[in-house]
């Protein structure tokens, strides 16, 4: 029993953090919002080069995985830097393809997802696919099985402008008749939980920095108890989401992952509300970078399982944990 990140995992987080800080992700996000995917694709391949996507791809398909704990470490950093793109979807697609009874689609598609040459999006049961206009591999779960969608429909706007929602074109090659979706859903929820935790941590950091320097009534607003207590509550919520995330990564039990997902997303969203309130009107503007995290915190709440669905999953298991 040693429930702490090991030095290697911390070093992985630090190097990803340094790389993303240098990459000026807010300007990449703004390009992505305009549908200009060039800078996002360049960043994607750098993220892949550090191995983030390979962590979800088995070694048999030129990946390094599966390593859910390290993947969670990586996705916290992606969330902290508001990296755009079908990040979670690529992980979910990789998990799904790796588990298909027929190894041929995995052999064909997974190596390029691991290396970052390709990205994937995945739509379950007619739902919108995220960033179908940017992803190179579009998977759709239809009534008759998993298909490689031939294209996508018009882009719909999301509450998070960096999340481009696209219907997928029906038809396309049938990859599997009865794909193991539950497994992919666990990976998608784990990655979303990690991304949300990162979003929440960034919102807290930025807000703490802001209230330390912003003065009103002649003193920093961060010295007011009402402000302190809201930020303390955000800190508590995020710090208790963290062990659920890494505990879930160790067990990969659907109930554990659902618990991590709902908790991390609720903590991030509560932090977003606090961040907006404590920034005042500047936080309500699109020009200020805070909006990039605020919008994502709301959108991630319902991605890959609403809070109610996740809570139901927590109670669905019969086994007690001892």
């Amino acid at each position: 029993m040693r429930f702490l990140l090991d030095p290697q995992q911390r070093a992985f987080a630090d190097s990803l953090d340094a790389m993303l800080t240098a990459a000026d992700t807010p300007s990449v996000v703004r390009d992505w919002i305009r549908g200009d995917h060039g800078s996002g694709r360049a960043l994607w391949s750098r993220i892949a080069k550090v191995g983030v996507f390979a962590l979800a791809v088995p070694e048999a398909y030129e990946g390094m995985g599966p390593h859910p704990a390290e993947l969670a470490v990586g996705f916290v950093e992606l969330g902290r830097h508001a990296v755009p793109g079908p990040l979670v979807e690529t992980v979910a697609a990789a998990a799904l393809l790796a588990e298909l009874a027929d190894p041929v689609p995995a052999g064909r598609l997974l190596p390029s997802l691991a290396s970052g040459e390709a990205s994937a999006t995945l739509a379950l049961d007619g739902a919108y696919a995220l960033d179908g206009d940017a992803a190179t591999t579009r998977l759709a779960l239809a009534a008759d099985g998993l298909r490689l969608a031939p294209g996508h429909g018009p882009v719909r706007t999301s509450l998070d402008p960096a999340r481009r929602l696209t219907p997928l074109t029906p038809g396309g090659e049938l990859l599997a008749a009865a794909p193991p979706v539950a497994h992919a859903l666990v990976w998608a929820r784990l990655a979303t939980a990690a991304q949300a935790l990162g979003v929440g941590l960034a919102l807290l950091d930025r807000t703490v920095a802001y209230v330390r320097q912003r003065t009103q009534f002649g003193v920093p607003v961060g010295s007011f108890q009402a402000v302190k207590h809201r930020l303390a509550d955000a800190k508590i919520a995020l710090e208790f989401a963290r062990p659920l995330l890494f505990g879930a990564a160790l067990t990969m039990a659907p109930a554990d992952v659902a618990a991590a997902k709902v908790t991390a997303c609720e903590a991030a969203y509560a932090t977003a509300r606090t961040a907006l309130q404590l920034h005042g009107a500047i936080g309500y503007t699109a020009e200020y970078d805070l909006s990039l995290w605020l919008a994502k915190a709301r959108a991630l709440r319902t991605a890959w399982g609403t809070p109610a669905e996740c809570r139901a999953e927590v109670l669905s298991g019969g086994a007690r944990r001892r």
């Binding site: 040693r2 702490l4 920093p220 800190k235 908790t263 109610a308 139901a312 109670l315």
Partner: protein
């Protein structure tokens, strides 16, 4: 990063589980906030101690098993899962004993710990005063030098367990007029039945005397009952406050067992269409797991040589608010039956309501989190 227990730790778990299955009273003991319940709980403490289960984390020489923090957590999980009684000795075991291990003398440990472990001497805490709650540095009860010891005078209040306990510990002002309020305090132990002590039980919300006022009028305490240096009591007290908030005051095992019972109650009684209540039950399950894992992370840091600092304030706010939410959910599941004051849930509910107030109010904890963990500037409260 892993959560698996070693084979030796698993064997320890199995041994604890087997012992508890054979010894836990089949019917619950009366509330320990009653005279009869207090006596019954002392008998239970003695039974635990006879097989060295009352203080598993203490060294064997004092009746423990030398268990590390992980085994202590495992024991607590088994203890609560077995439905074992609440611990009447917890103020002494969780608050005074760690202080004695860190700051006491060998003579003090040999004299005090064995009778504490066996429930023969039950300790009450005596921190608060009428004008000093979470602001402990403002306390005014005095310790005045006399031949061979000290004379204590003043008033303590909200003293948990003092209505029926034997002895108490607290801070007293031994050097009046120091430049800073937390200087000149001395950490002392005293006998609740000594001449000059008057204990007046205070009924809590449900009328039960869970705490008391303690009036002291020139109560003699010998030098051997001072812990640490006279005048250095603040440092002694603060070194163990983190333990209280951070690790030992509420073990995750208690909440894991309570969440399990809540799920049983939900399965047995809930209206399946009431998804709002279902979500609260799920949150109780999630909260217990979060608290368990958070504590495992803290324990890991501890085993790596780290100490518990201001992070303990995160814990304290979390468990105290969680405890109330858990019990409110149970009462709501019970519906009109939840009003009955004679259930474990209603007893637990009344107890939980005090959580955000004691051990440093949650307002104080949030200030600590904001100033010491987030680095926000100090300001007017």
């Amino acid at each position: 990063m892993d959560l698996t227990l070693s084979p030796a730790d698993e064997a320890f778990r199995a041994e604890a589980r087997t012992w508890l299955a054979a010894h836990v009273p089949p019917t619950p003991l009366p509330s320990l906030e009653t005279e009869e319940g207090f006596a019954a709980h002392r008998v239970w403490e003695a039974e635990l101690a006879a097989d060295r289960w009352s203080v598993v984390s203490w060294p064997e020489v004092y009746g423990g098993r030398g268990a590390d923090i992980v085994r202590w957590l495992v024991f607590e999980e088994e203890y609560h899962a077995a439905g074992a009684p609440g611990r009447v000795g917890q103020n002494g075991i969780n608050l005074l004993a760690p202080t004695l291990f860190d700051h006491g003398t060998e003579e003090q440990r040999a004299r005090i710990l064995p009778s504490m472990a066996g429930g023969e001497v039950v300790w009450a805490q005596a921190w608060s005063e009428p004008e000093a709650g979470s602001d402990l540095a403002s306390l005014t009860s005095r310790a005045v030098r006399t031949a061979g010891g000290w004379l204590l005078s003043g008033q303590k209040t909200w003293s948990s367990r003092a209505a029926f306990a034997d002895r108490a510990f607290g801070l007293f002002r031994s050097e009046p007029g120091t430049p800073r309020p937390h200087q000149g305090l001395t950490y002392l132990m005293f006998d609740l039945r000594a001449p000059g002590v008057t204990v007046r039980p205070i009924g809590r919300l449900d009328g039960r005397p869970a705490f008391a006022e303690v009036f002291l009028d020139e109560v003699f305490v010998p030098d051997e009952d001072v812990i640490g240096e006279p005048g250095g009591g603040w440092r002694v007290a603060m070194s163990t406050a983190g333990n209280e908030r951070g690790l030992t005051l509420r073990s995750p095992g208690r909440f894991l067992a309570a969440a399990d019972r809540l799920v049983d109650l939900w399965r047995a009684r809930a209206d399946p269409s009431d998804t709002a209540l279902r979500d609260r039950v799920a949150d109780a399950v999630i909260g217990a797991r979060a608290y368990q894992l958070f504590t495992y992370a803290n324990a890991s840091r501890f085993l790596d040589g780290g100490t518990i600092g201001p992070e303990a304030s995160l814990n304290k706010v979390f468990w105290s608010e969680y405890d109330i939410a858990l019990h409110e959910t149970a009462l709501d599941l019970l519906g009109p039956d939840g009003e009955s004051a004679d259930t474990d849930w209603s007893e637990g509910y009344v107890f939980s309501l005090a959580g955000p107030i004691y051990a440093g109010t949650n307002e104080i904890q949030r200030d600590i989190i904001a100033e010491r963990l987030l680095g926000l500037p100090k300001g007017r409260r």
